[in-house]
Amino acid sequence: MSDLPLLVSCERDFLVHLVAIPAEARVGDLIEAAASLVVGVHVPDRPLSTVHIRKIDGDAALPIDATVTDAGIEAMDWVHLFFDAAPEGEPVQ
């Protein structure tokens, strides 16, 4: 099965990365692949367990154990990484 190209942005970052992920990969794998481009790179390092993902135009975190296809992600969708709310308040993006 060929890879799904996706648009991925991340809280506190400034750009959108192109990330390709196998359709049968889990959402957790996508989070890991996407976070490796930003967390500890453009924004401070943090445990993966505090990183979640949602569609850019949705609020709900996608379930990490579902496959990306079952989570409703299609080729060229835009997904967004976000963090557990920092003690000082809400996520900035």
Binding site: L7, F14, L15, G40, V41, I56, Q93
Partner: protein, 500 residues
């Protein structure tokens, strides 16, 4: 026999309109090349060009201008200056020559379109001189870039860039094709000479000539000033046209062309000028920030010109005024991170003193863009320069071809940035790009951005290195950090410097 004054014969002599007998009027001036609005002849008769020049006068003045440009460029002095000028100035020159030389040269086609298909003789006259101007602009800038080749092979991109698939080249070609080369004479006059040249480049060239003088680069300063005097003349082709359009009931058509042309060329301008003013220029040579430059020279002047003409400010004006505080910061950090993909060395421009300057000019900068640079600096100091090298491509706007960016302390606009058209998903830098796309989707839908080309399998191997080769960048041409990461260590204990 005494010679007549120009004013005694000009109006009669320039009036070269006649009724064609071998072909129809519509064949001589097809609407798609000339005037798609089919404005009445009486309206066109009102076209009154503000610059009245004869060919003999033009040639005499241009000859003097060229003599000035090349005379000052005594080779030895120039070589000495270039050897002493820092990397930052070299980068500004490489960026300028690459982005501008052939782009100016290609606007011969735009001037040619107006010279042949303009419905008013005065417009055709001015555009004929404009065409000759742009030949000169292409040639002189290529000459200077060529003279600089001995200092770095990256200067070769003055000639090479537009023939490559480098992302900036794709962006430049798409912009030129849309607003300058692929339009009728009326729309070209509005989008190129009014929105871009009157709106942006005229002032930009004055600013750049000043910066060059400040940096001690006399010959480049003279070159740019000399070009600017031509631009300020042929930039006035559009104004009399807009005036007659407003007066004769074509305001909506004129306004729409202004709104589209201004937005598309603003992005091009912000990328080139915003980054240079706020990051490339050595701190001690800076006179104002990009935002201050825009507010003082571009915004005020353009607002006055539009309103004087009976036009309105573009509908997105408030958004534009906010955008000049953020978009170019994103372009700059993008350039630095993706420095391998450009033909000049990119200065980070974020030493501690420069960060203070940025914070004073853009309050809140440290908490937004500065945070990203802090993390990057930490990685460099920890010896992890590998983390500053991208692993994948950024997604570019389907319309403007530039990486999609946001102020990192502000949310993305999400839905306002996306559109599905005939089953394909399009993503935009902002709702303004999306609006332009929606005005004429068939014009834009088939365009292949770098990302489209990548997804179509044209980049092989489909890796970051594969993309660099696809873009035509040989290892010696690819950009590096202009100061070998010294900025990350400035003001700190001396340590082993990272090397790039």
């Amino acid at each position: 026999m005494t010679l007549l004054q120009r004013s005694d014969w000009y109006d009669v002599a320039r009036d070269t309109n006649w009724t064609p007998s071998f072909v129809s009027e519509a064949d001589l001036f097809p609407p798609e090349m000339s005037d798609p609005f089919d404005m009445p002849k009486a309206a066109w008769a009102e076209y009154d060009e503000p610059y009245k020049v004869s060919y003999a006068e033009y040639v005499k003045v241009q000859r003097e201008k060229d003599a000035g440009v090349y005379a000052v460029n005594t080779a030895a002095a120039r070589t000495r200056f270039m050897e002493e000028a820092g990397q930052r100035w070299h980068s500004i020159l490489k960026l300028h020559f690459g982005a501008v030389s052939l782009a100016e040269s290609s606007s011969q086609i735009s001037e040619g379109r107006m010279a042949r298909f303009g419905m008013a003789p005065g417009m055709r006259n001015m555009a004929t001189f404009g065409l000759l101007d742009e030949i000169r602009h292409g040639q002189t800038q290529l000459y200077f870039a060529h003279e600089s080749l001995k200092h770095s092979p990256q200067f070769n991109f003055a000639h090479k860039l537009l023939g490559t698939q480098e992302w900036g080249a794709i962006m430049t070609r798409a912009t030129l094709d849309d607003v300058f080369l692929g339009r009728d004479a009326v729309t070209t006059a509005i989008m190129l000479t009014f929105a871009f040249e009157t709106g942006f480049t005229n002032m930009q060239f004055i600013g750049l000539a000043g910066d060059a003088a400040e940096a001690g680069d006399t010959s480049f300063s003279n070159l740019i000033s000399s070009i600017q005097t031509d631009e300020s003349r042929h930039a006035q082709i559009g104004a009399p046209l807009l005036k007659l359009m407003v007066k004769n009931g074509y305001k909506d058509e004129a306004q729409k062309a202004v709104d589209i042309g201004f937005w598309r060329t603003y992005r091009f301008f912000a990328l080139l000028t915003g980054t240079v003013i706020d990051y490339f220029m050595p701190l001690e040579k800076r006179t104002s920030s990009f935002k201050e430059f825009m507010e003082e020279w571009i915004v005020g002047q353009f607002e006055r010109t539009l309103l004087d003409m009976g036009l309105d400010l573009p509908w997105y004006w408030d958004f534009f005024l906010e955008d000049i505080e953020s978009f170019h910061h994103g372009m700059h950090i993008g350039w630095w991170l993706y420095r391998d993909t450009v033909w000049f060395n990119v200065p980070a421009g974020v030493s501690p003193a420069e960060r203070d300057w940025l914070e004073s000019k853009y309050p809140g900068w440290n908490d937004s863009w500065g945070r990203l640079w802090s993390q990057i600096g930490e990685n460099i100091r920890a010896g992890r320069t590998d983390l500053t090298v991208p692993k994948t491509l950024p997604v570019v706007c389907s319309f403007n071809n530039l990486p999609m960016v946001t102020d990192p302390s502000k949310p993305w606009a999400g839905k306002d940035q996306m559109l599905t058209y005939k089953g394909k998903k399009y993503y935009f830098q902002s709702h303004v790009e999306k609006w332009v796309f929606e005005q004429d989707p068939e014009r834009y839908a088939a365009h292949q951005t770098l990302i489209d080309q990548f997804l179509a399998g044209r980049i092989q191997p489909p890796t970051y290195e594969g993309a660099l080769n696809y873009m035509g960048l040989s290892p010696v041409e690819r950009g590096k950090d202009a100061e070998n990461f010294a900025w990350a260590f400035a003001g700190r204990e001396p340590r082993t410097m990272a090397a790039e």
